[in-house]
């Protein structure tokens, strides 16, 4: 009996606290359907009188969230593709082949990771200027793909090192070379690791702020959602419901993707502390 009361109390607290926890999102979405005048007069009532899509249309067309959205999608998907390809290939080489110099490479990269870094965004910006990429999405994509992605490399290496040697041997007997064994036989089994790395990188890049902020300082048309939002509130200071709509455009897709793919994401996070 005592246990059931305790359990009931736990659930009550978790639910009440949980609603408060995600209330900012509820507030954001509900405000995005209000008009600016009802927004001010409706007080704390979260329910809009009726659904107004005007805010979304205004944000999408007038405030160029359509452009920001497209930029965010292109930058995020390209970065995910590049990062996954690089770390998957590296993980396969490190996890499956005991090539000469392997230990040295691991040691050097891990050691370099620990070098204290200064304000690296300035040299990154200068580098993109030198490469002639400072006013292009490609520059932002390359900057977002930088880094050594140690966590993903470790995930891939650990996974590939567990693939039984017989799989590789029988592929070799069938005449498959190194690359075909990797691409046709081993890689398809790595889907869960790819999903974990992809969803983590997706959320990180989608949320990235400083890199696109600095790299698009002179080219507003290349802004991502996060950066575009800042310029939106700078320009339309009193358009609160437009702000809520813009914020929803940016947050709702990533929240939905997370809810569908959360198993992989949480596994990745928990893998990073093990």
């Amino acid at each position: 009996m005592k246990n059931r009361t305790a359990m009931f109390m736990t659930h009550t607290l978790l639910i009440v606290f949980g609603i408060i926890w995600i209330y900012p999102f509820i507030w954001m979405i509900s405000s995005s359907f209000k008009t600016n005048s009802t927004f001010l007069t409706s007080g704390i009532n979260p329910l809009p009188e009726n659904i107004h899509w005007d805010n979304y249309i205004r944000a999408w067309e007038v405030a160029n969230f359509s452009g920001y959205f497209l930029n965010s999608v292109i930058i995020t998907l390209s970065t995910v593709l590049i990062v996954i390809t690089l770390s998957c290939l590296t993980g396969y080489a490190l996890g499956r082949v005991k090539f000469p110099g392997r230990k040295v490479i691991i040691t050097v990269v891990v050691a370099l990771m620990f070098i204290p870094s200064g304000y690296t965004i300035i040299p990154l910006y200068e580098l993109m200027k030198m490469l002639g990429l400072s006013d292009s999405l490609l520059g932002v994509i390359l900057a977002e793909s930088s880094g050594a992605h140690i966590l993903f490399i470790l995930l891939f290496a650990a996974f590939f090192s567990r693939v039984p040697q017989e799989v590789e041997d029988s592929a070799a007997i069938d005449g498959a070379g190194f690359f075909r064994t990797f691409a046709k036989i081993v890689l398809p089994t790595a889907k869960p690791v790819i999903a974990t790395a992809a969803i983590m990188q997706f959320i990180w890049t989608w949320s990235s702020f400083l890199v696109p902020l600095v790299l698009t300082l002179n080219s507003p048309e290349l802004r991502t959602l996060a950066v575009g939002m800042l310029s939106f509130v700078g320009r339309y200071q009193t358009d609160w419901t437009g702000m809520a709509a813009g914020a929803s455009i940016s947050l709702v897709p990533v929240i939905l993707i997370f809810i569908v793919m959360q198993r992989y994401f949480i596994e990745g996070i928990s893998g990073s502390v093990k």
Binding site: T10, H11, W21, I22, P24, W27, L40, G43, I44, T85, S87, L89, T90, A93, L94, G95, V97, F99, I105, I106, V109, V110, L112, P116, S117, G118, Y119, T120, I121, I122, P123, L127, S146, G147, I150, I153, L155, A157, A158, S161, G177, F178, S207, F209, L210, L225, A226, M229, L230, V233, M243, A244, A247, L251, I255, F258, Q262, I269, V273, K274
Partner: protein
């Protein structure tokens, strides 16, 4: 299998072919790492020795002048102090609340744990810069929070949360923690799941109550992972930027300006011409500070874990 066909130089053709492929596989990552990671790190030091506005060639070498100037700037020490206040507040709030949540959600008899975990994790996946703007609205003078407090009769007059230096810093810490607690909670849950079931069963047989189990079994066993969590939390919060930039912009009157924001201000949004050299020097000082703190906390991790935990890279040995 591979050793069967040895060639004259001792390495089989099969293996040599494999090695070449392995080098080809790691080459792209190495190029990206050296070009886009290592080069910026090196240059972030180089720039700090120049008086440079960011335009034109690096010509005006000034040695340590940027550094000596920084150390006498009160605005720098203000930002330095704010960074530590934020880090301390963030660390205490997020680690403790995340631990409580993890302990509650680790109970296998609790129904709907997965849903609760999703709910409390949700802020993690959202964009910090957007959150800052949404929260600026919610905590504005005419914002939702004031309206709510008035509606339940807690206050009569609106409070300007973001114009008060102390309240603004507290708000930054609370919102920053709220946003990241989900990650810390998963870290703690990972730690809790690494404790073998038998330990609890043994405690139960010995007649330990749930509080005693927590106090004398669970918490001591969580110490090693706790030290790692402390390291990760402190290091990640010292470079806070997105939230401060969008929620307070360092205001009111620089009361919440952290080092990353201070550096950004001198590099990209200066009152006069850009001072990239000066900003770079401040960046180096921040980097070195984070480095020293991670060395100290890394030593704590090493001591607490009794040198048993796998070092980084253990996964591919």
């Amino acid at each position: 299998m591979a050793k069967k066909i040895k060639s004259s130089n001792g390495i089989s053709k099969y293996n040599r072919n494999k090695y070449i492929w392995a080098y080809i596989f790691i080459l792209p990552q190495i190029i990206v790492f050296f070009g886009f990671s290592l080069y910026p790190i090196v240059m972030s030091y180089v720039y700090s020795f120049y008086d440079w506005s960011g335009i034109g060639p690096l010509t005006n070498f000034v040695g340590l002048k940027n550094y000596t100037r920084i150390l006498t700037e009160s605005s720098f020490w203000n930002a330095f102090g704010n960074t530590f206040v934020y880090t301390a507040g963030f660390t205490v709030v997020s680690i403790s609340i995340a631990l409580i949540l993890a302990l509650v959600l680790n109970n296998p008899n609790l129904k709907g744990r997965g849903i609760y975990r999703t709910v409390y994790f949700l802020p993690v996946v959202t964009t910090m810069a957007i959150i800052g703007i949404v929260m600026q609205n919610i905590f504005g003078t005419q914002g939702f929070f004031n309206e709510f407090l008035k509606a339940i009769g807690l206050i009569d007059q609106s409070i300007s949360w973001l114009s008060n230096p102390v309240l603004a810093m507290i708000l930054l810490i609370i919102i920053g923690s709220w946003k990241e607690i989900g990650i810390t909670m998963i870290y703690w849950l990972t730690g809790l799941q690494m404790i073998p079931r038998e330990v609890y069963e043994a405690a139960k047989i010995d007649g330990a109550g749930s509080w005693q189990t927590l106090r004398y079994i669970t918490l001591p066993l969580l110490k090693p992972i706790g030290a790692t969590i402390l390291l990760l939390t402190v290091v990640s919060s010292m470079r806070v930027f997105d939230l401060v930039k969008t929620l307070t912009e360092g205001g009111p009157y620089f009361a919440t300006e952290t080092l990353e924001l201070y550096i950004y201000r001198f590099a990209f949004a200066p009152d006069g011409p850009s001072q990239v050299g000066f900003a770079s020097a401040a960046g180096v000082i921040l980097g070195l500070t984070v480095f020293i703190i991670s060395l100290i906390l890394g030593w704590v991790v090493y001591k607490v874990s009794g040198q048993k935990r796998k070092p980084l890279g253990g996964g591919i040995k």
